[in-house]
Structure formats: C-alpha cells, structure tokens
C-alpha cells in the first residue's frame, strides 16, 4: 500500500475521495497526520488567504511569510482543533488576520512608514491578465492600502474574499452593526479614491 502511495493513479483516487470532504472533516484528518488531507486544504485556501494577507500587509513577500506561518500553525494545531460551531474558513481567516496584526504591530514598533513597505501589488495576477486589468487591480489595492486597518479588513473580507456578513463579523470579532459601520466608511473612502475607475466601468461620469 505504502509503495503505491506516490503513484499517480492511487494519489488521484485518494485526492478524489478526499476532495468531497468538508474543510472541517479534512481538518480532523490532518489532526491524525493525514498529509493528503493537508494538501487539499492548501489547494483550497492558499490563494484566497494569500490575497487577503498581501492586501492587509501591502507586501507580497510578507504575505507569503504569513501564509507559511499560518499553515505551520494549521499542521501543528490540527490535532487539538475543535470547530466549536465555527467553520474552518472563519477560524483560518482569524489565524491569518492575527499573524498580519502581529506583523503590523512589529512594523509600527520599527517606525517604518507604509510608503516604504513596497508596492502593494506585485506578481499577484496570472500571467495572462491584461495590462488594463493589472492597472485597475493595482489602483484598487493602492486605495485599499490607504484605508484605516479595520476598514481594510472589513472591506477585504466582504467584497474581495466573498465572506458572508456573519462570517466577516466573526473573523473580525465584532457585531453586525459594527461591521456595517466599518463597511460604510471603507466603501465611501474607496469610492472617492476610485471614482475614475467607476466612470470607466459604467461609461459615464463619476
């Protein structure tokens, strides 16, 4: 059995069987040291969470480091992980968010201005993404980077990561009313900064 583990057909069969499992069920298996289950969680969540971390930190390299730390925490903590009613996604966003907050605190301690943190967008788009799309995406990320931290977190979770209101509120550990307030202010600031792109999209005046 072990000798065939690395073979493509067996691996494919394993992956297919595991792929239908929920994140929570996979996490239980990871707790038992199941590497294929871990690989599926990586495949499902790395991209989205990397985008989230990169956007919060405004730096791709730091976003990547955060993801390495987050998955290390996932692997090491899986044996003791208990859903307690929360979804895996909510828990893992919370892990990533906390790691980002830690880094931002350290960064503030070092007194590094945000402008020195580097270009907020670098190599994030697929190679075939058009120049127009890349420029637009760069401007959106630039506008997001200028938002206060909590607003950036709320806007990213709801409008870019696609979490439901309840999930986003759980990740941020605020109630829906507070989330609404963060989104209202964040959205207004973004609209102001991205007015020219909106008019481009609608073909009218901003």
């Amino acid at each position: 059995m072990d000798s065939t583990r690395g073979a493509a057909p067996a691996g494919t069969a394993d992956a297919t069987a595991l792929n239908i499992l929920s994140d929570e069920a996979l996490m239980q298996r990871v707790g038992g040291g199941d590497e294929p289950a871990y690989r599926i969680l990586v495949a499902r969540h790395l991209s989205r969470h990397l985008g989230f971390a990169t956007r919060l930190l405004g730096d791709r390299a730091e976003g990547e480091e955060v993801m390495q730390e987050a998955f290390l925490k996932l692997w090491r903590g899986a044996a003791n992980w208990q859903p307690r009613g929360a979804r895996f996604t909510t828990w893992f966003y919370r892990v990533v968010l906390n790691l980002c907050i830690d880094r931002q605190r350290k960064r503030r301690g070092r007194q590094v201005p945000i402008e020195d943190a580097g270009d907020p967008v670098d190599q994030r788009q697929p190679a075939d993404a058009g120049i127009h799309d890349r420029q637009m995406s760069r401007q959106i990320d630039g506008a997001l980077a200028e938002l206060p931290q909590r607003q950036r977190e709320a806007v990213s979770l709801c409008y870019l990561q696609g979490l439901t209101n309840r999930e986003a509120a759980d990740v941020l550990q605020v109630n829906i009313k507070a989330l609404e307030s963060l989104l209202t202010r964040g959205r207004a600031a973004l609209k102001q900064r991205l007015g020219h792109l909106r008019s481009e999209l609608t073909g009218g005046t901003p």
Partner: protein
C-alpha cells in the same frame, strides 16, 4: 430613499447581503422608484469593480514550501524532539523542585524550632524600639 441609500452604502448592491429585516422595504422601493434602481445600478458597478480583482496566484516556491511543512515538521521532531523534548517542561520542573525545597526548609525550621521563631519576633519589636527610641512613647504621652 435615504434609508435605501444607507443600506447600499454599507452592504452594496447584492440583496443577499442586506439585513433580512430591511430586504422587504428595499425591494418594494426598487419596484416603485427609478431613482432607487439607478442607485442600485451604480452600486452594482462598484461591486463589480471590487469583485474583478484577480485572485492571487501563489508562486511555485511558496506552494512547495507550504506543502513541505508536514515532512519538515516530522523530521524536526525526529531530530530534536526526542533528545530535547523535555526542554519546554524544564522550567516547570525547576519551579516544582524549588517549591518543594522551600516547603521542606520552612516546614523543618518552624516545626523543630518554634522558640527561635518567637524570639525573632521579639527581636524585631526590639529593633523597632531601638530605631524609634523612647521619644515616640514619650511624645505620645505628652
């Protein structure tokens, strides 16, 4: 209309995001007001703009590094975990040992030398008297 605008400014154009208790009123307004529909279209364009941000593509190096975590963690445990696995618990054992020794010392000294303990108390009082002298009593008395 103001309430509808407030709703859109927070939650965007997707009715699925709107709080349930405000959905019926918002839908009724949309059915009757052209201005509401224009506002909705405007917010929908903004939602589309944000949703159009392409997904972040992880580099091959990052993917390999993250996929290697289980193997690396197992190797680290094999290499260092058995030999030095007791290290994290060392401070706890040191604390327990110190507490035990201290307890033994206090227990033996107070059990077998009660007279000495009382003498120490008396001595403290005496020292206090010596430091403040008779002037305190004398002052209070006057």
């Amino acid at each position: 209309m103001d309430e509808f605008r407030t709703l859109l400014e927070a939650w965007g154009a997707d009715p699925a995001r709107w709080p349930r208790e405000r959905q019926t009123g918002a839908q009724a307004l949309l059915a009757s007001s052209g201005e509401a529909r224009m506002l909705l279209a405007d917010e929908a364009a903004f939602d589309a703009l944000l949703a159009g941000v392409p997904e972040t593509v992880p580099s091959a190096a990052l993917m390999q590094g993250i996929l290697a975590i289980p193997r690396t963690a197992k190797q680290e445990r094999k290499a260092g975990g058995w030999r030095f696995g007791f290290l994290p618990a060392l401070p706890r054992f040191a604390g327990l040992a110190t507490a035990a020794m201290l307890g033994f010392y206090i227990g033996t000294t107070s059990l077998f030398q009660p007279a000495r303990s009382m003498a120490a108390d008396t001595e403290t009082v005496n020292i206090s008297d010596y430091v403040f002298g008779d002037s305190i009593d004398g002052g209070a008395g006057q």
